[in-house]
């Protein structure tokens, strides 16, 4: 466990954190581990349902798809450690796909995949554009694809994808229950001090909010003159708004846990999250197609503004309270 002397030894740590208990152990057990356990369990059900029901009763498979995708979104802001090892995170979720790689990769596999290609060991080496939840979104829900591809082909590929998802989800769960959890709770080369572990969690919050702001909403909003509804996330299975909601609800929990020692910051964050989630819930626009409608667009922009307010509070109040900054993340760059 983190001990106070590791804090005292740490570099230039600001005063508030010196007095606070380390946050990472609590957040690991109460939020991170349950999220990956749920993902592993639902991914496993999805793989089973796809095998048993893809041809006979696709609705059952579709329900399992929605459940498993929810579980991924609820875990997706923990984008460090196990999910950043090798290509796991991207193999589950290759998005945004701003060069249209997923439709091309899925079409190519439908046209020429052999039983050999689809074997789990071989499928694991496929391009991430053909794997994971976003490939399923295209494979199972693209309107143009329906009717053009024999069900058997579609189900064979769906099986390969869902088994690959289940395989990766199981690895993530195992690592979070064991090795990586211990890195979050005691000094190591990875996190030399409790402050570094706290910074990682803080980054999960800032990056998660940024992703909702810039990508989930920013991409489809485009500009007023040139909205881009086809850039909405997983719009084919009508999950765009749902992802925003699930993500914000989970970031809300993380923010409250990080602000546990700062009642005023905590209540500001609580109020702002509550407001933005209620606004989002009232949009009643599953695919965010409203970006093209001036009236509805205003309401989507209001949600985006709410997220920006949150980002401001997090950066200017929560960060200084914790004595950490946002550091670098994978969204840096172009």
């Amino acid at each position: 466990m983190w001990k106070s002397y590791t804090l005292a030894l740490s570099l230039a740590l600001s005063a508030p954190s010196l007095m606070a208990a380390p946050l990472a152990p609590e957040i690991t057990t109460s939020q991170i581990q349950p999220a990956f356990a749920a993902l592993a369990q639902r991914a496993d059900s999805l793989a089973h349902r796809t095998t048993t029901h893809c041809l006979s009763d696709p609705a059952q498979m579709t329900q399992a798809y929605h459940d498993a995708f929810d579980a991924w979104i609820a875990a997706s802001h923990w984008r460090f450690g196990p999910t950043e090892t090798n290509t796991r995170g991207f193999s589950l979720a290759f998005w945004p796909d701003n060069r249209g790689k997923t439709p091309n990769a899925v079409r190519a596999l439908l046209a020429k995949a052999t039983p050999e290609t689809l074997k789990p060991a071989n499928f694991a080496d496929q391009s991430v554009a053909a794997k994971g939840f976003y490939a399923l979104d295209f494979l199972l829900f693209d309107v143009d694809l329906q009717g053009k591809v024999p069900s058997q082909n579609r189900c064979d590929l769906a099986q390969a994808i869902t088994h690959d998802i289940a395989r990766i989800a199981a690895i993530l769960n195992t690592e979070w229950q064991h090795e990586f959890a211990s890195l979050m709770t005691a000094p190591s080369a990875r996190y030399a001090t409790a402050a570094e572990a706290t910074q990682e969690l803080f980054k999960a919050l800032t990056t998660g909010l940024q992703l909702n702001d810039d990508l989930r909403l920013g991409r489809p909003l485009g500009t007023f003159d040139r909205p881009r509804p086809k850039r909405a996330e997983a719009y084919r299975s009508e999950r765009s708004l749902r992802h925003l909601m699930v993500s914000l609800e989970n970031l809300h929990l993380l923010a409250l846990a990080l602000a546990v020692e700062a009642p005023e910051v905590r209540s500001t964050l609580d109020r702002q999250f509550y407001r933005v989630i209620s606004r989002a819930a009232r949009l009643d626009d599953p695919t965010l197609a409203g970006v093209s409608d001036p009236q509805k667009r205003l309401r989507i922009e209001a949600v985006k503004q709410g997220i920006q307010d949150l980002r401001s509070t997090v950066a200017t109040q929560l960060g200084p309270h914790l004595g950490v900054s946002a550091g670098f993340n994978s969204l840096d760059g172009d």
Binding site: L11, A12, L13, S14, E84, N86, T87, F90, S91, F94, N98, R99, G100, K101, D125, Q126, S127, V128, A129, A192, A195, E196, Q199, K203, T206, T207, Q210, D214, G222, T223, R226, K230, R231, Q308, R311, S312, A315, T316, G319, P320, G323, V324, S325, A326, G327, F328, N329, S330, L331, D332, G333, D334
Partner: protein, 422 residues
């Protein structure tokens, strides 16, 4: 390995001794950084002018030799420019400008003819296959654009990022690269683009049509590159805007240096440019996919990060620019941390060097990207891991220098959304 560690520890010991004798001034560190920036952009300009002369010669006397000379000049021009990319993130003036000269990836069908396998317009880009070289006019958002004269103004005003799509790259190094090499149709096999010099030939020798317009495009793009680099080099001179902005706030300036190092290492090079290609097994994701120069792009990006940290840059004519550095500042606060950063920078450079040497000896970067090519994946991923790992130590340096709460322009993650820190 041993010699690297020894050198690093000796250097750290020297820095430690030095810092106790005379403290490193932040202003001096900022001046070294600005001097290196000035030298890199000046070198970029110098080598771009050599490229410009070679392009003029190609157009005046098209031949296999003049085409090859232009390609060689392009390769040389990339060496200093890639080392300057470390100035992008953290210096808003550079980041706002950079898209004009180094935008990537591009839908090259906007510019010139492409292979049938390229496809046409896409959901994302209606102009992916516009082919300006072949079309003296086109319609953009209901407006007719006259392209009968291909000029720098047309390229930067109407074509670049046409329709708000970033993949419509009409200017810069990669547009010139496409015009000199053409598409690389070898997939993940060895081999670069293989455009024939006859694409620039006159009269009956002209291949693929519109040779004169193709030459006009190449000339316009190269001239624009030179004038854009001229502008940026001027920003770093003694009275330039980039330099005075940097020097106006010492803490923000030091923070900008580290922001540039971290954002280029992690989000941009390790993520967008290297890991994505491996994960997609897609040679189009190569940074210089036409010329097959990607191994050098990554190598010189990494070198730029290292030489900014150490405060040392060797110019294209061999002159050494050096002075007080971030390394000295970190060392004064925490000698072990400085050693850690230097060690990680060296590890990264060794990994990027292995990619470069493998590519130069015949195992090209596109081959490394092939699905199931474990050796290629291991080479690229060791570069990725080095870049990500060094970024963690930059975060420690930010803490050690007490720059946590310093806001900077130009970085999404270090920048706070509404800029209220003070």
């Amino acid at each position: 390995m041993i010699s690297t560690a020894l050198r690093a520890s000796t250097a750290a010991a020297l820095c430690l001794a030095a810092s106790s004798a005379f403290a490193v001034e932040k202003a001096d560190v900022l001046n070294t950084y600005a001097d290196i920036a000035a030298a890199k952009y000046d070198d970029s300009l110098l080598t771009a002018k050599i490229l410009q002369a070679a392009v003029d010669a190609l157009i005046a006397t098209p031949s296999a030799e003049t085409l090859q000379a232009a390609r060689d000049a392009w390769f040389a021009a990339r060496v200093p420019y890639q080392q300057s990319e470390v100035f992008r993130f953290g210096n808003a003036i550079v980041d706002d400008w950079e898209g004009k000269v180094n935008a990537w990836p591009l839908d090259e069908g906007l510019i010139d003819y492409v292979d049938a396998s390229y496809g046409g317009a896409t959901d994302e880009n209606a102009f992916a296959a516009l082919n300006v070289v072949a079309n003296p006019t086109f319609t953009l958002s209901g407006k007719t654009i006259d392209t009968s004269d291909i000029t720098p103004a047309l390229l930067e005003g109407d074509l670049h990022e046409a329709d708000g799509v970033e993949a419509n790259v009409a200017t810069g190094y990669h547009a010139v690269e496409f015009l000199l090499w053409g598409q690389d149709l070898n997939g993940t096999e060895h081999g670069a683009g293989n455009r024939s010099w006859t694409d620039y030939a006159t009269g009956a020798d002209c291949t693929n049509g519109n040779c004169e317009r193709r030459g006009d495009y190449l000339k316009a793009a190269t001239d624009l590159l030179v004038s854009d680099l001229e502008w940026m080099a001027a920003q770093w001179t003694a009275k330039g805007d980039a330099r005075s902005t940097l020097l106006s706030d010492e803490d923000a300036g030091i923070s900008a240096i580290l922001t540039g190092m971290g954002s280029l290492s992690y989000g941009e090079t390790a993520g967008e440019r290297m890991r994505l290609g491996v994960m997609l097994n897609d040679p189009e994701e190569e940074h210089s996919c036409f010329a097959d120069n990607t191994h050098n792009d990554h190598y010189y990006d990494g070198l730029g990060v290292q030489n900014v940290y150490l405060g040392q840059y060797v110019r294209v004519d061999g002159t050494l620019i050096s002075g007080p550095s971030v390394s000295d500042l970190v060392s004064a606060e925490n000698a072990a941390l400085d050693l850690e950063v230097r060690g990680k920078l060296s590890t990264t450079m060794r990994a990027l060097g292995q990619i470069k040497t493998a590519a130069e000896s015949g195992f090209s970067y596109d081959q490394m990207l092939a699905a199931g090519n474990a050796k290629g994946e291991a080479l690229i991923m060791s570069g990725v891991n080095g870049l990500i790992d060094q970024t963690r130590s930059f975060e420690r340096a930010i803490v050690a220098l007490d720059l946590n709460n310093v806001a900077i322009e130009g970085s999404d993650s270090l920048d706070n959304p509404n800029a209220v820190f003070q």
